[in-house]
Each structure stands twice: as C-alpha cells, then as structure tokens.
C-alpha cells in the first residue's frame, strides 16, 4: 500500500550532469527495485514520477536529470525543504532470474543502484551520451561504461537475463536482441496510481498503462 507523506530534503548532490536528491524516508516504504514514487515538484501542478535510486538507512534517494521545469525544481531543492512524496507505486523488476545483467542508458541508470544491491551486484553495462554524464557510473561500481557513439547494445552479452532502464529507442532495441528482457519504460504521467490513464506506451499494438501494469514490463 503506497503512502503519501511530506519528506524533508537531506541533501542534493551533483553526480556528473545529474542531481541526487536525498530525502528523509519517514514512514514511507522503499518498495522493490524498479517501483517509483510521485514527487511534488515545487511550482508545478503535477508531481513527477521517479524510480528509487537507493535507500540508505532512513533515506530515499532519487537521481534526477534536470532537463525540464519539474526536474529542475527538484534539483534546486535545498536541505530542510519539504515536498510531498507518494509511493511506492507500480510494478518493479522480478529478482528471480538466474543470470542477471543490468543495462542502463543515460538517466536510466536511476533505478539500477537499488536493483544492483538487491541482486548482490551482478554485472552491469551503462551507456551515456557524454563523459560528463558518464560520471554517474560511480553510483554503480564495477559497471562497464560505454559513451556515444558506442551503444549498450554493442556491448552486452546475449546469454544473460537483461534488466534495463533507459531511453525508448534503447529499450526497443533490447526487446529485439533479448526477447525475455525486463524493461523499465517511461511516459508522461499525471497521477501514478491508475487514475488518469495518461501514461500508456504502445507495445505490440497494445496500450500498456505504465503506472499499474509497469513501469517494468516483460514479454517472455
């Protein structure tokens, strides 16, 4: 059962081109890797959906790419400020695969540190569009890192159980390469709990409502 609480900002740290927003956990559950939370973005009418990056003791941490109005507002939070947080929501990754390989593209690295910890640090491949963005790889020690024009799909072994998050072209390419992959999708989302029917993605001709059927989808 998700909860809605006001959470106090502990710190906002720069991680390469991204910002790690660290919140006091309060009575919120962490959920499972790949699940997400709706975070109030100050000044914006709608909250923002963000998957949990890590859950140190008493904390929830979210990695943010400050590219839009809401994400910039979140990255500009100051310690001591409070925002409304609602979650955990959606369906996360299944953790019962025998040979997991984590794959992240850009800000798609966000849920992988929490996932890596749950799976006891399996191998990982990360792709970024610049060296500055690739600094975020320090959140996942030991990961293989490729930078554009090399793509993660050039670098992954095909005999593994892929768990991935990243931009839609990367996810669609991984579906072709690794038919059983678990993929975390993204779509503009208003509510996060099945109310608005806004967050659909079209897969195999069918529309999937990401906030309740996903965001992690697997087709095998």
């Amino acid at each position: 059962m998700p909860r809605r609480e006001r959470a106090r900002v502990r710190a906002v740290e720069q991680v390469g081109a991204y910002s790690l927003v660290r919140l006091r956990r309060g009575r919120l559950e962490t959920g499972s890797p790949g699940q997400f939370f709706m975070l109030e973005a100050p000044g914006c009418p709608l909250p923002r959906a963000l998957s949990l990056s890590s859950a140190p003791a008493g904390e929830l941490a979210f990695l943010i790419d400050p590219v839009g109005r809401g994400t910039r507002a979140l990255a500009a939070l100051e310690p001591g400020e409070e925002i409304a947080v609602f979650g955990p929501l959606g369906r996360g990754f299944r953790l019962d695969r025998p040979r997991p390989l984590l794959v992240g593209g850009g800000i798609g690295i966000a849920p992988l540190p929490f996932l890596s910890e749950a799976l006891e640090h399996p191998p990982a491949v990360l792709g970024f569009r610049s060296a500055r963005h690739a600094e975020a790889a320090l959140l996942l020690p030991g990961a293989e890192v490729v930078v554009d024009p090399v793509l993660v799909t050039d670098a992954i072994p095909l005999d593994r159980d892929v768990l991935a998050c990243g931009p839609e072209p990367m996810l669609r390419a991984l579906r072709e390469l690794c038919p059983g992959a678990q993929l975390a999708w993204e779509a503009p989302m208003a509510c996060g709990y099945g109310a608005c029917y806004g967050c659909v993605v079209e897969l195999d001709g069918a529309l999937k409502r990401l906030c309740v059927e996903g965001p992690v989808l697997c087709f095998s």
């Binding site: 809401g70 099945g194 109310a195 608005c196 806004g198 967050c199 069918a206």
Partner: protein, 281 residues
C-alpha cells in the same frame, strides 16, 4: 452537499481507498464499444494546469456491465456512471441497461467526435428509457450555457454537471504539439473561473441540482462553487497530485464555513447571486 470525483480522474478499482473518501464514485465514461483511447502522448502539463487526451478509453458497455460494475458495487460507495456515445441511441441503450446508479451523460468530451444530436435530444432519448437520476455534463465552451441548461432540463434532466474540460493545445520546445492528437482537455486551476461562471449562469435559469467542478483544489474553491449555485462539488485534476484531496477539502471547507460564520454549507448556497448594494464612498 456531496463531494464526488470528476469522471475520468479516478479509477476506483485501482485506488479503492481514494474512491471511499468520496460521497460517491463517478466512473470513467462508458461507451457502447470498447475503446483503447487515443495514442500516446496523452498528458501535457501547462503553467498551472494540464491537458489530457485520453479519448474515453474504456472496456465498452458489455464488459463494463458484466465485469466492472459488479466489482464497483462491492466497494459500497454510491455509484455514478458516466455514459458516452456517438449518437442518441448509443447513450439511451447504455442508460436502459443501468439500474441502481446515478447516470451522468457526458455530452461534452473535447477529445472525441460529438454526437450529431443536440444535448437536449440525447437527454430526451435517455429519459424515455430510464427512471434513474440523469445528470447532463455540459461543456463550458457553449456560447450560452444557460440556454443549454434550460433545454436539457426541459428534456428531462434531473441535474447538471458543470463543467467538462476546455479544448487546449500545448507546444514543446520545437513548436510541435506535445500531445499525439495535438489538442486535449484543459483542466486544473485555470478552469475555476470558467466553472464558476458556468454554475452562476445555469443557476440563474435553473433550479436543478448542480455538481460544480473545474479547478477545485481547496475548501475555499468548493465554497465559491456553492456560492455560485452548486449543490454538489467534484474534484478532478487535484486528485492527481493529492490522493487525500477529498478529506482535505472537506476539512478546509468546514474551516471556511466556521470563519465566515455559517452553520452549514447550505447557508452559503447562491450567496453570489444576492444583489450587492453599493455602499457610500
């Protein structure tokens, strides 16, 4: 005064605890055939509101009646079923199959083609086949919403739901529409003055119960709708950012009433219609 959700802004089966926080649950619009809805992107934020282009996604009448409605009845919340269609017959056939619910006729979705018949003709067709309470949900885009209200009242409506969203458009950085279908229904805080004006205009010409909605975020907003003539209030976009909006708005409304010296919400009903006497300067 009942506090309801606005149709399309809550899925009671996905979030039953939110549905139970209201005095009644209003379903998403049910059409005769199943609809997947519009292609993504369906949601776009604006400066202070949002656009949606869902396109009446729903399982269709038969599955709704056979599967969804029995599950909804188990929630123990009074049900309002939003009915849509593309002809008067579409609406009437669904209404004829519904019992034990209040019916809200969605006569104003900005995201799909409209029926050829007028709102009053659709209401009359539905009135002929059901004794259930019939509320007509009207668009604030009508040139004279008071005239529409009079027409649907004469056709047999038992109440009005005011207002649906307004059609809007948002562009991205490349000056391309953010929504796949370009336009969508504009909702949120900017809709409140539009809703107040519609409720005010309809109350001036009709004695029917009115569900006021549009940009309600606080108890004060609810009170303003009542002062304009709403007998009930619904929450829409506010639910997307606050699942506790219903109890919060109720508590804020009670505070507003106490602060203004009202014993109950009915004492504020239609106050905005009381002639204001200009004082001496």
């Amino acid at each position: 005064m009942l506090l309801l959700n606005a149709s399309g802004c809550l899925d009671a089966l996905a979030a039953p605890w939110v549905a139970r926080s209201f005095d009644g649950f209003v379903t998403k619009t049910v059409t005769p055939e199943a609809r997947e809805g519009n292609p993504p992107v369906r949601i776009a934020e604006t400066e202070s509101g949002m656009l949606n282009s869902i396109g009446l996604a729903n399982p269709g009448r038969e599955r709704f009646l056979a599967e969804t409605l029995p599950e909804l009845r188990r929630l123990g919340v009074p049900l309002w079923v939003s009915v849509g269609g593309f002809s008067a017959d579409d609406y009437a056939e669904t209404c004829a199959a519904l019992e034990g619910v209040t019916i809200e006729l969605n006569l104003s979705c900005p995201n799909v083609e409209e029926a050829a018949e007028s709102a009053a003709e659709i209401v009359a067709a539905c009135r002929a086949v059901t004794a259930a309470p019939l509320f007509a949900k009207l668009s604030p885009a009508a040139a004279n919403i008071g005239l529409v209200a009079c027409a649907v009242e004469a056709a047999g409506a038992d109440g009005l739901s005011l207002v649906n969203t307004l059609r809007g458009l948002v562009l991205d950085e490349r000056l391309a529409p953010r929504l796949a279908r370009a336009t969508g229904g504009y909702s949120g805080a900017p809709l409140k003055p539009v809703a107040l004006a519609a409720v005010y205009a309809c109350r001036a010409v009709s004695g029917l119960p009115i569900v006021g909605m549009g940009g309600v975020r606080s108890g004060r907003d609810a009170l303003e709708l009542v002062a304009c003539g709403a007998t009930h209030v619904a929450l829409g976009t506010a639910l997307f950012s606050d699942t506790d909006a219903a109890p919060r708005v109720r508590a804020e409304l009670a505070e507003e009433l106490a602060r203004a010296g009202f014993g109950c919400v009915e004492e504020a009903f239609c106050l905005a219609h009381t002639p204001v006497v200009a004082g001496d300067n």
